[in-house]
């Protein structure tokens, strides 16, 4: 468990080291558009340069709408390729990562921007009626519609503002835990 704790979003120690780290490892092209976002939301966005062409922005859930709107209006990212929910029971959070890509600007076609946020997690989930909620990004990125429905049924993250929060893949009468949570165990495993 000690490994997981070091990976949790560290607040103060990392903030001091990021500026130097960014200058050392940040590729020039990614830096040009990430700086634009980071300058606008200096305290709310934590930037990680994972590798070439892959950048991750960790955003607080209160700011995710503003950041997404800014990305949509000021950068060429125009669609979401994937929306992944990740369960972190030790940190009592559920992470949701939007992978954004661009079709319109050829210079950005290699880039994938991961926009990540976290929702609170409850021990006994009641999907849709508990505190595990996030604002939906459907108004900015229309392509997340089915992806967010999938995250809702698989992890129980309710997306506020999504017009159609129905089940997609699971059976209508599924009454067990959301299956991609870590406390839902595979039989025989």
């Amino acid at each position: 468990m000690s490994t997981t704790e070091t990976k949790s979003p560290p607040k103060d120690p990392k903030k001091e080291t990021t500026p130097e780290k960014v200058e050392d490892t940040a590729p020039a092209f990614e830096k040009s558009y990430v700086d634009q976002i980071a300058n606008q939301f200096s305290d709310d966005v934590e930037v990680e340069y994972i590798k070439e062409n892959r950048t991750r922005l960790n955003v607080k859930k209160e700011k995710i709408i503003d950041v997404a709107k800014f990305i949509k209006d000021n950068t060429p990212f125009d669609h979401a390729e994937s929306v992944s929910g990740v369960d972190f029971p030790d940190e009592k959070e559920i992470g949701v990562t939007y992978h954004l890509g661009s079709y319109t600007d050829p210079a950005y076609s290699k880039q994938v921007l991961a926009l990540a946020t976290r929702a609170p997690r409850e021990e006994t989930p009641n999907p849709g009626n508990d505190s595990t909620k996030l604002p939906s990004l459907r108004d900015m990125f229309y392509s997340v519609e089915f992806h967010e429905r999938e995250v809702f049924e698989m992890l129980g993250v309710y997306f506020e503002g999504h017009p159609d929060n129905r089940r997609l893949l699971l059976p209508e009468d599924w009454a067990d835990l959301p299956p991609l949570r870590k406390d839902f165990k595979n039989k025989g495993r």
């Binding site: 490994t3 997981t4 990976k7 994972i50 590798k51 062409n53 892959r54 991750r56 125009d78 669609h79 979401a80 390729e81 994937s82 992944s84 990740v86 369960d87 990562t97 992978h99 079709y103 319109t104 050829p106 076609s109 290699k110 994938v112 991961a114 999907p127 990125f141 229309y142 392509s143 997340v144 519609e145 089915f146 992806h147 129905r166 089940r167 997609l168 893949l169 699971l170 059976p171 209508e172 009468d173 599924w174 009454a175 299956p179 991609l180 839902f184 595979n186 495993r189």
Partner: protein, 382 residues
């Protein structure tokens, strides 16, 4: 009509709706031969579709959940199950992702073998898809020809990997085994014959006036909508967007090969059905180039340590599969198995376009529009 008021607590997921006397609700599937293993709930007014609601999930197998309890090697066979005809391409992003995670280099020869196997698989998949598109439109010759011609490449893949479908051929670090002796000659001969053969599809199918009448101007997806809905693969390229992961973000040796992106502007069902066919011709070109440039001997696999552990925290890799971009997002926590594995596949991403395309169409055009989305139900469900 009065609002339906549920009298007692409803079971989760149960949906209640008001009905209109004029609008008829029609369940297409999940057993209908025209829908695959999915259901499309269509609302029709006379002969016109007023609303369509895709309902996938009938072949959901929980691949992502299964991946969390198996290590990086034992994940290989089950992760290709979503598309057994295109098993190399659906496994490709996972294999590339694991290589990134643990940081291993792939031998040059293995990269070429992987590209050849991936292109052969693309043709096998598209032939199968095309056969079904043919029979959807009542063109039974177009069912027989591709179903027979794909045997050529299936036999070839069997010679390489030992299995006709579900090859489990790619492994992190290279490929499972080397290609057989004189593979280059056999492959080149088969590709040349295959290319000659599929060019004949143009005469019988794509230039066929009946087919054109049925598919042209049906289900038109504009360029803006294709981008906005985040569609991918042949659907996107048929709407005039020049985007192919093999060209835009080359993986393995695609940057050393000359890959042409097929783009059509019309955005209708005809264009969407034609792009995969052009892709097959392009695949033949790629295979020929790769056979020529491939090192004639050398290692084909860098061994992974037993129970490999991820070095990076997370990785997102994507490739161009037969149905569009296939992405794999792996979150690693220094354990032998992935902490979370997400497959983002072309079928699932293209499904969002279906309600838009069907609204306003005649019911008779539904198969032509639906299957032109290059949709594979099993892959969408995962």
């Amino acid at each position: 009509m009065a609002e339906v008021i549920p009298t007692k607590e409803m079971p989760p997921g149960l949906q209640v709706e008001n009905v209109d006397d004029r609008i008829m609700t029609l369940n297409v599937g999940p057993q209908h031969p025209g829908s695959g293993h999915m259901r499309i709930i269509v609302k029709i007014d006379g002969d016109y579709i007023v609303d369509a609601d895709p309902d996938p999930g009938y072949v959901h197998r929980g691949e992502e959940k299964m991946a969390e309890s198996r290590n990086y090697i034992t994940n290989i066979p089950h992760l290709e199950r979503p598309v057994i005809h295109d098993s190399c391409n659906i496994l490709y992003p996972y294999v590339l992702g694991v290589e990134d995670l643990v940081g291993i280099e792939v031998p040059e020869r293995a990269k070429y073998v992987r590209v050849i196997a991936a292109e052969l698989n693309r043709c096998i998949y598209i032939q199968y898809w095309l056969a079904i598109y043919g029979i959807f439109l009542g063109h039974s010759t177009m069912f027989m020809w591709p179903a027979g011609d794909r045997e050529l490449f299936i036999d070839l893949m069997e010679k390489i990997s030992g299995a006709r479908v579900t090859h489990a051929y790619f492994v992190p670090g290279g490929v499972r085994n080397d290609v057989p002796a004189n593979f280059e000659d056999v492959c080149l001969r088969q590709v040349n014959y295959f290319e000659k053969r599929i060019k004949e599809y143009g005469d019988i199918f794509y230039d066929n006036p009946i087919l054109k009448a049925r598919t042209e101007d049906t289900g038109v997806l504009s360029r803006e909508d294709a981008i906005r809905l985040g569609t991918t693969g042949s659907v996107l390229r048929a709407s005039g967007v020049d985007y192919d992961v093999r060209v835009k973000e080359p993986y393995d040796v695609y940057d050393e090969l000359d890959v042409h992106t097929n783009v059509l502007k019309a955005g209708d069902s005809y264009a969407r059905s034609k792009v995969p066919w052009l892709d097959m011709l392009e695949s033949c070109n790629i295979i020929r180039q790769a056979l020529e440039k491939m090192p004639k001997s050398g290692s084909i696999r860098t061994k992974l340590k037993p129970n490999p552990k991820g070095g990076l925290d997370e990785v997102y890799r994507r490739v161009e599969s037969g149905r569009g971009a296939a992405g794999c997002y792996i979150v690693s926590k220094e354990k032998p198995e992935p902490y979370r594995l997400k497959l983002s596949v072309g079928s699932f991403r293209n499904l969002i376009a279906l309600p838009y395309l069907l609204k306003g169409e005649k019911l008779g055009n539904m198969p032509a529009v639906y299957w032109s989305l290059n949709y594979w139900p099993v892959e969408a469900d995962r």
